[in-house]
Amino acid sequence: MDFYYSLAQIIGFHTLLGLSAYIVLQTGQVSLAQAGFFAIGAYVAGMLTVLAGWHLVPAMLVAGLGAALMACLVGFPALRVRGLMLVIATLAFGEAVRLFFFNFDYQIAKGEVKIGPLGGEGFRQIRWFPENGWTSLEVMLFVWTVVALVAGALWWNDRSRFGAVLRAVGEDEVAAQSVGINLTAVKVTAMTIGGFIAGLGGAIYAHYTTHIEHLNFNVLLATFAIAYPILGGLRSVFGTIVAAIFVQGFLVEGLRFLGDWRNLLFGALIVLAMNLRPHGLIDAATARRLARLFSREQWRGEQRRA
């Protein structure tokens, strides 16, 4: 059973990573920096619980805020470039973060041993969960509570005007400007929120795995981050959740017996999905059809109330 709890935890922080890219992608920005924000969250939270002896929850919040601050700072220059140039710029940032942690030493002595991040060796001893006697099940429930809170907030945001503004910017920047939307403000806000969510995910990841090192936060992770929302569709957070479950639960774990062929199949499936469902598994039309299916009257009523 522990295997499944552990898998659910993995899917949990991958979902957070996907959701962090989801809100950025809604504004039409393809960001490969999410793995970098995830790394910042992981290291900050790890250092706070291990070195400063904090409780996990405040450590996670600070980790999220730290990643958000970084995302905001990166957002201003990076979001002035578009399309492929933005992909390159954010990729470079992600790699810079990884290389920073590759060179980052900050160890303090605790009794006999020295603890803390040690460059390429990584950061071991992030054992807040076992030290406080959490069982696998409890950790899983905790992880998914965070996922539910974040997903719920984004789900609600999708229904708010700000959510529609995000999508409007993603649809047509010129038209968005002409109806009075400040592009920079909207994009940087989305990036900052995305950074916060990635930071939370990274904090959870660090405490799940107990040992982090720079190689965990490579380009592959950044690709996963944008793959979930692209695969799932940008109309609903459920698409991202389903995609994370599908990729981590089925493609990565379920197809483990295929060995190296698994990666080939993963690539092929992305290509297939982009051809068959160019706007994601759950695109705008599907999302509306689903909504109508579930509650035709309620949906209409909601729109009318609006």
Binding site: S160, R167, A176, Q177, V179, I181, A284, W299, A306
Partner: protein, 248 residues
């Protein structure tokens, strides 16, 4: 209302707009016409801020608006439609209008959080009215991309109007319309003028321009070649030459 002085926009060596002047009086429908490539759309893009002018001034209600970023010009009272319709295709008709409610002119009405959470109910009445005026009320919940061409044009106009502008820039609103739709557009423009809007109409369709405008400015190769009432402009030999070529 709007005064353009010595306005120029050069793209490299191409002088898309080359030192034009015109001024629009409050309450009039001002036509901007000219053959293809004469600089009409560039002029609109300069006025609404998508391009920065190479030289010259754009004064709106006596104020130079060159340093005002595009997204703030809406709150000054400048709204536009596009030659090739630019709706948010994957947003609903309702949401498209909701976006224009983002204008800072509406911001004073409610506090930020209230707008974020309950902005819909505040904007409800205005949007419903705009939808009824455009005859799109029954399609409020449909995606904008699924509308017919004429409906999309009407929605785009409604979106521009949702921001309560004082000057409306219509960039070739009749493009792709049939005779019946153009007749409707003619009526609509007159109705808007009655309601007190000042309109800058960029158009290819001469009948429409001659019918609804008070004054017309004719551009050719980025320069102004004539200005006056529709009748004066039609009689101008330079205009005939630009449109029909020189009689040999």
């Amino acid at each position: 209302m709007l005064e353009v002085r010595g306005l120029s926009k050069h793209f490299g060596g191409v002088r898309a707009v080359d030192g034009i002047d015109f001024s629009i009086r409050p309450g009039e429908v001002f036509g901007l016409i000219g053959p293809n490539g004469s600089g009409k759309s560039t002029t609109v893009n300069l006025v609404c801020g998508l391009y920065q002018p190479t030289a010259g001034e754009i004064l709106f209600e006596g104020k130079d608006i060159a340093p005002v970023p595009t997204h703030r010009r809406l709150s000054l009272g400048l709204a536009r439609t596009f030659q090739n319709i630019r709706l948010f295709a994957n947003l609903t008709v309702w949401e498209n209008l909701w976006m224009a409610e983002n204008a800072p002119s509406h911001r004073a009405e409610t506090r930020f959080l209230k707008r974020w959470i309950g902005g819909r109910s505040d904007a409800r009445e205005r949007i419903t009215k705009a939808l009824e005026f455009s005859g799109l009320a029954h399609r409020a919940d449909d995606l904008a991309g699924s509308l017919a061409f004429g409906e999309q044009r009407r929605l785009e106009l409604a979106r521009a109007l949702a921001a309560k502008p004082r000057l409306l820039l219509l960039d070739e609103p009749a493009a792709g319309m049939n005779a019946e739709e153009i007749a409707q557009l003619d009526e609509r423009i007159r109705a808007l003028q009655q309601q007190g809007y000042t309109i800058l109409l960029i158009e290819h369709h001469m009948e429409l321009v001659m019918a609804v405008t008070d004054r017309v400015c004719v551009l050719n190769f980025g320069r102004k070649i004539a200005e006056g009432t529709p009748a004066e402009v039609q009689a101008d030999p330079a205009v005939r030459e630009a449109y029909l070529g020189t009689a040999q």
